[in-house]
Amino acid sequence: MYKYKASKETGSKSWVLQRITGLALVVLMIGHYILMHYQPESGHTYQAVLTRMQFSWYRIIDLTFITLGMYHGLNGIWNIFRDYKLKPWAKISVQSALIILGIAFTVWGFNIIFSIPYVGGFSAK
């Protein structure tokens, strides 16, 4: 009788989450593209970023975007590795590498958003 011994996790939670985060990312992506690319110049100067970042809700959307994107992307990469029956040590190495990479870049992204100052004169907080 064949038994899968490597893990008791069936992966069903990550399967559901992958779909939910995917759908959320599609919605966020539509907003991102409309806002950033409705004309060639829109939104790519420091002033434009600064103006947008005066709205806290915009910061919250960006933070959500990067968190969901990192989770969905790295979980996707992990799903690819899962197709190739890794040895336990390889599994742990790959998983740790992905988690460290994900946390590092998410923190970096958060840091960038938080470093943008709230400037006086705007009352849009």
């Binding site: 779909r19 995917g22 759908l23 990312l25 599609v26 992506m29 593209y33 690319h37 409705y38 004309q39 060639p40 790519h44 100067t45 420091y46 002033q47 970023v49 990067i66 994107g69 990192m70 992307g73 790295l74 996707g76 990469i77 690819i80 190739y84 029956k85 990479l101 870049f105 970096w108 992204g109 840091n111 960038i112 470093s115 943008i116």
Partner: protein
């Protein structure tokens, strides 16, 4: 005891996935639209997470103030980078539309018409890709005529 050996022998007759020749095996596999969707979804997915890392890195000059950031953005506004950005959008489009197709197949009985959904996602994708090109290169297009 005897039963066990018989059972073991039957397993030898089953063709299992050959891990050593997996590239050959994948290439030889007869591919229909679903297989291509799977392959493209993987390729675009890997490219998009790689781009997300690059995206965080490329926006990092925001912490160094206006001059540093605008210089960085200036370097991304060359025609070459705009072309790359346009094709990045193609990757985003395929992964998004095929992702929606996957969710429909999984949650809304889409397995009955997944081939039509695949065709539809290509049609919508190509239309949106061309529309984006028209927006991104509107200045260049205006100069042409």
């Amino acid at each position: 005891m005897e039963k066990d050996t018989v059972k073991e022998n039957t397993y030898h007759n089953i063709k299992t996935f050959d891990q050593k020749g997996w590239i050959r095996e994948n290439l030889d596999y007869k591919k229909d639209s679903g297989s291509w969707a799977w392959i493209f979804h993987r390729i675009t997915g890997i490219a998009l997470i790689a781009y997300l890392f690059l995206h965080v890195y490329s926006l990092s000059p925001l912490t160094q103030g206006e001059v540093a950031f605008n210089n960085k953005m200036q370097s991304f506004s060359s025609p070459f980078f705009m072309l790359v950005e346009w094709f990045l959008f193609a990757f985003v489009l395929f992964h998004s539309l095929n992702g929606i197709r996957i969710v429909i197949v999984d949650w809304a009985d889409g397995a009955k018409y997944h081939k039509q959904l695949y065709t539809l996602s290509w049609i919508i994708g190509i239309i949106l890709f061309l529309a984006m090109g028209a927006i991104m290169f509107s200045h260049e297009i205006k100069n042409l005529f």
